[in-house]
Structure formats: structure tokens, C-alpha cells
């Protein structure tokens, strides 16, 4: 099989699987909806056929509860996967990920600070922007510390990310517990993630940032390819290395901040999706970024479905589900990379 055919198959599979997963996620849940009814209801909204295919309750569940949540799950997953793929090019390491580099915990801290100081109540965009700032700060901190004394090793990078993540998570917990109105449940949300009760306002908020950031990173696909060749070669090819790095950090924070603000920490998605696809579509970002977006969207969509299908009155934390899948994957991939020196 030629590489070209393989790549087309991968994209075709993703393009078919994502709508199917979306349909499944819209139909399944605490109240099951008939998939055909869901499709007919969607058709009615688009102006084909009569209304009310699902009955009044079903329509409300589908359009007011499930659709925003499902779209948000896809957006969060797609955005985090694009962030992961971009950071992997930037750090020249296929195991780099927003979660491992302190971005998620940094964003969570930023968001909690905004809530805690009351900014989030005063201004609509204070919460996501503060989360962006937290994510960016964490990234810059990890980058700066890891680069003290030359090019960081994988271990150095991961350990620095771990330390910064732990620091941010600790500060988040202290902030939450120290504030009376917050309870353990909120702490759990920021540390373990979840999409329970998320609606259109959250979707709108995340969509603006995620789509803008993803679009900008797609435009930088070739620059990311050159950056992945290493600092010296990139500079010799006239790429403004430091400016591009800062820009990529900024765009990653722009995506990771709001996704964390609406979904809490959703670890490993940014690692698994691009890492698996790199083997299938190759490392060129003009293919890897869109493929990662689709795969990440599907992953979180399915993970969220698993969370809300677990039991009648209990929802699993989304971040735990992605970690259950992602952490073993990471360990296997890490062994593989060490094996290659």
C-alpha cells in the first residue's frame, strides 16, 4: 500500500467515524433517543420534513442538553489534539503534550484565580482569558527552566513539566479550599475535568478560541515543519525561531485556556491523537494537524459518552477516563522511544 493511499484511508476513516460517533453520542445517554429520530429531528431543523420526531422531551434533551455538550466535547478534544501536535513539533518530541507540560494545570489555576477574585462574574471573557494566561505562563516556565543549560532531554522536559504541573495543581487546590463557596466537587472538576451541565454559552465561548487558534496553527503548518528540524537548521532556512516559538505557545494557550475553563483538565488527548496519527499520516503538519483535530474530537466525544453512560446518577470524571486510556498508551510509547535511543 502506498503512503498516499494509506493517508487517504486514514482521513476517510476519520471523516466517517466522527459523524457516526457524534450520532451515537447524541442518541445514547441516561435517556436513549432513537438515532433515526435524531437524524429526522436534525432534518426538520434544517427544513426537511415535519417537526417533533422525538416528542417534546426528546427534542429538549437533544437540542438543549445533548447537542451543546457533544459539540463541546468534540471541540475540546480537537483543540487539545492540535495543541499536542504543535507542541510535539516545537519541542521536537512526539511525547510532548499540553498536560505533561503544565498547560492544563496552569490553565486551571488561571481559571480558578479568575473565579476567586470575582473577575469571572464581572466580565464574560475574564475566565477563558485568565485560563489562557495561566496556560501560557506554565508553558513559558517549563520551556525556560528546561532550557537552562542547553537543549533539554526528554526526561528533563517531562520532569520539569511534572514539577510545574504539581505546583499549579497545588495552588489550585489551596485556592479552592480556602474559598468558602467552593466545595470538593469543584476541586474535582478542575483537576479531573468534565462536561456535566455544559450548554451553549460554554460552547460559544470555547468555539471562538479553539477555532481561531486551530486555524492559525494550520496556517503555520510549514513553519512548524521547519521548526521541527531543530533550531539551527530552522534559523539557517530563515525561520525566525524565537518569534515562531512564542507565537505557537500563544496559540496553544489560546486553545488550551478556554478548553480547560469549560471542561477542566482533560489529560493525554493531546498526546494520544497526534502520536498515533504520526505513524499513519506522517509528521508533516499540514496533514497531522487536521487529522489530529478529527481524531481528538472523536476521542473526547466517545470518552464523554462513556462518562455519562457509566451509571444512572453518577458521572465519571472526563479527565479520569482519558487518563485511563492515555496513561498506559503514554507508558508504552515512552518505552518504545527509549528503545530507539
Amino acid at each position: 500500500m502506498t503512503e498516499r493511499l494509506q493517508r487517504r484511508l486514514v482521513f476517510a476513516t476519520l471523516a466517517i467515524a466522527l459523524p457516526l460517533a457524534t450520532l451515537a453520542a447524541l442518541s445514547l445517554g441516561s435517556v436513549s433517543l432513537d438515532p433515526i429520530g435524531v437524524l429526522r429531528s436534525a432534518g426538520a431543523r434544517l427544513g426537511f420534513g415535519g417537526p417533533g420526531a422525538l416528542g417534546e422531551t426528546g427534542e429538549i434533551i437533544l437540542w438543549s442538553v445533548r447537542l451543546p455538550r457533544v459539540l463541546l466535547a468534540a471541540l475540546v478534544g480537537g483543540g487539545l489534539a492540535v495543541v499536542g501536535a504543535s507542541l510535539q513539533s516545537l519541542f521536537r518530541n512526539p511525547l510532548a503534550d499540553a498536560g505533561l507540560l503544565g498547560v492544563g494545570p496552569g490553565a486551571a489555576l488561571g481559571a480558578v484565580v479568575a473565579v476567586n477574585l470575582g473577575w469571572a462574574r464581572e466580565r464574560f471573557f475574564a475566565l477563558p482569558l485568565s485560563a489562557c494566561a495561566g496556560a501560557l505562563l506554565a508553558l513559558l516556565l517549563v520551556y525556560a527552566i528546561a532550557h537552562v543549560g542547553g537543549k533539554p532531554t526528554l526526561a528533563g522536559l517531562l520532569l520539569t513539566g511534572l514539577a510545574v504541573s504539581a505546583l499549579a495543581a497545588a495552588a489550585t487546590s489551596v485556592l479552592l479550599v480556602a474559598t468558602e463557596e467552593f466545595r470538593v466537587r469543584t476541586v474535582l472538576f478542575w483537576l479531573a475535568g468534565g462536561l456535566e451541565g455544559r450548554g451553549y454559552e460554554h460552547l460559544g465561548l470555547a468555539a471562538a478560541f479553539v477555532l481561531a487558534g486551530t486555524g492559525a496553527l494550520l496556517l503555520m503548518a510549514r513553519a512548524l515543519d521547519v521548526l521541527a528540524l531543530g533550531e539551527e537548521e530552522a534559523a539557517a532556512l530563515s525561520l525566525p525561531v524565537h518569534a515562531v516559538r512564542i507565537l505557537v505557545f500563544g496559540l496553544c494557550a489560546l486553545i488550551a485556556g478556554p478548553t480547560t475553563a469549560v471542561a477542566g483538565s482533560v489529560p493525554f488527548v493531546g498526546l494520544v491523537a497526534p502520536h498515533a496519527l504520526r505513524a499513519l499520516v506522517g509528521p508533516l503538519n499540514r496533514r497531522l494537524l487536521p487529522a489530529s483535530f478529527l481524531a481528538g474530537a472523536g476521542l473526547v466525544l466517545v470518552a464523554d459518552l462513556a462518562c455519562r453512560s457509566f451509571g444512572e446518577h453518577v458521572e465519571l470524571p472526563l479527565g479520569s477516563v482519558t487518563a485511563f486510556v492515555g496513561a498506559p498508551y503514554f507508558l508504552v510509547a515512552l518505552r518504545g522511544q527509549e528503545g530507539h535511543g
Binding site: T2, R222, E233, S238
Partner: protein, 259 residues
């Protein structure tokens, strides 16, 4: 013919140490120059200064007679290509995609590649004789093939000056011969080639040789002139004796440690 690239009195410090102390060097189109010198003589530093990656504290690099800082970065990268000793690109990257990234200085981050770009990439693959490898991931190549792919990326920049940092150090003898034959062809097309070469015997590939010692060009001329000079003996701490091969001008050199 005037120099396409020229360093004048370069003075450059790295890590608090003056690595280049008034280095002068010039290449005209079609020149091939082997740069030799003991470890830490500043050879790589000189290459990077010529490519505009390091800024000298004193002196200047002239490209087509104009100082480097007066050129836009992309314009320098369209005229000067730097080929490193070792390729560290992703293992899964296909050879043709690796080579095509050499078009970045011509197209920038957004403009799509044109027929012209594809033709230059194809020519680079042909010149280096790795067309049959173009769809292979880099990780499946031998060290010699990978070095040729890296050279092809440099050629894809369509440069007037090709700077190579120890291009042959990881190659077996057959791949070395192949590499130098490719460099001869590149030179015949009017490209100025400057190569740092560790192996003094191998460095005699080039008709001109320059010895860099303590940050200055200590000897320059034909390989025999340079290798048999007192400067080379002093720089490396060896004595050198040239042995004629057959009746032609070709020579081999014997090196012995100095007492």
C-alpha cells in the same frame, strides 16, 4: 571574478572565549575550499558566521559584496545553504518532504509550492542520486544515505554558496567518494563549496585548502602547500611528509606525532 562570499577580519566570541580572531576567507563562484584545523579551532563557528547564524563582534561577512546584516534573512538563505554534520529530523519524515523543506526560504510559510519548486527538489534528488529513496522515511536510511538527503535539502535551497560541516565524518569510504563526486558536480555548476573536513587526507579532495588555527587562517593554498607547511605541523603537533603517487601531481601524506 569577485568573491560571492567573503569574511573580513571576523572576531567572534563564544562562551567568553574568542574563537575567531580576525579570520579572513573568500570564495568565488565554483570554488571548492576544504577548511581544516585542530579541534576547537573555530571551524564550525566560522561556517555559522558565514551563514549569518552568529554575529561577529568585529569584522564582517560580505555576500555578493554586501554586508550580511543588510540582507533580509530569507534572501541570505536563498544564497547560502548550511549542511550540518548529522541529520536530526523526525525518523518518519519522507526523504522528498525533508528535501522540499529547503524551499522554505523561497516560499515562506504560506505560499504553495510551484512547478519550479518541484523541479528544483527533483534536481536535488537527482544530483545526490537518491531519487529511488524519495518516498522512504528517513529512519530507514543508512547514515550515508541520510547525509545525502541532508545535502539534497541544501541543494533544494538553490544556493550560490554551500557550507558543509564535516559532511563525511560518519560515512564509509564508498559513501565518502560518492559525496565528494556530488560536491564536484555542484561546484561545476558554479556553486561555491566550503567544507569543514576532519580527515586531512580526505580534505585534499578540494583544490584549495585553508588551515584555521587559533581563530585565524594560518595557511591557505593547494593541499600540498598547506599540509606540508610549518603552520600545519604546529597546529596539529605533527610532522607531515608528502609522498608522490605515480608520476602525476597527486600526493599522499604521512603524519607522525612530534616529540
Amino acid at each position: 571574478m569577485s568573491a560571492v562570499i567573503e569574511a573580513k577580519g571576523l572576531w567572534l566570541e563564544r562562551g567568553g572565549r574568542a574563537v575567531l580572531r580576525g579570520t579572513d576567507i573568500a570564495l568565488r563562484p565554483g570554488d571548492a575550499l576544504a577548511l581544516v584545523g585542530p579541534n576547537a579551532a573555530g571551524k564550525s563557528t566560522l561556517l555559522r558566521a558565514l551563514a549569518g547564524l552568529l554575529t561577529p563582534a568585529r569584522g564582517e561577512v560580505l555576500l555578493d559584496g554586501r554586508p550580511l546584516p543588510a540582507w533580509p534573512r530569507a534572501a541570505v538563505a536563498r544564497r547560502v545553504a548550511l549542511v550540518a554534520a548529522e541529520d536530526t529530523a523526525a525518523e518518519r519524515l519522507a526523504v522528498e518532504d525533508r528535501v522540499a523543506l529547503g524551499r522554505y526560504p523561497h516560499r515562506g510559510p504560506l505560499a504553495p509550492f510551484t512547478e519550479d519548486d518541484r523541479a528544483v527538489v527533483a534536481r536535488a534528488l537527482r544530483l545526490t542520486e537518491i531519487e529511488h529513496l524519495q518516498r522512504r522515511p528517513l529512519g530507514t536510511l543508512s547514515a550515508g544515505e541520510r547525509q545525502l538527503a541532508l545535502l539534497a535539502r541544501g541543494l533544494a535551497q538553490d544556493p550560490a554558496v554551500l557550507l558543509l560541516d564535516e559532511p563525511a565524518s560518519h560515512l564509509d569510504v564508498r559513501h565518502q567518494l560518492h559525496l565528494f563526486r556530488v560536491l564536484d558536480e555542484v561546484r561545476a555548476r558554479g556553486v561555491a563549496v566550503l567544507a569543514v573536513i576532519h580527515d586531512l587526507q580526505r580534505a585534499s579532495w578540494a583544490p584549495r585548502m585553508a588551515l584555521l588555527h587559533e581563530g585565524r587562517i594560518a595557511a591557505e593554498g593547494s593541499p600540498a602547500d598547506v599540509l606540508e607547511s610549518e603552520a600545519t605541523g604546529r597546529a596539529f603537533g605533527v610532522s607531515v611528509r608528502g609522498v608522490p603517487v605515480g608520476d602525476g601531481p597527486e600526493r599522499l601524506w604521512r603524519f607522525e606525532e612530534r616529540a
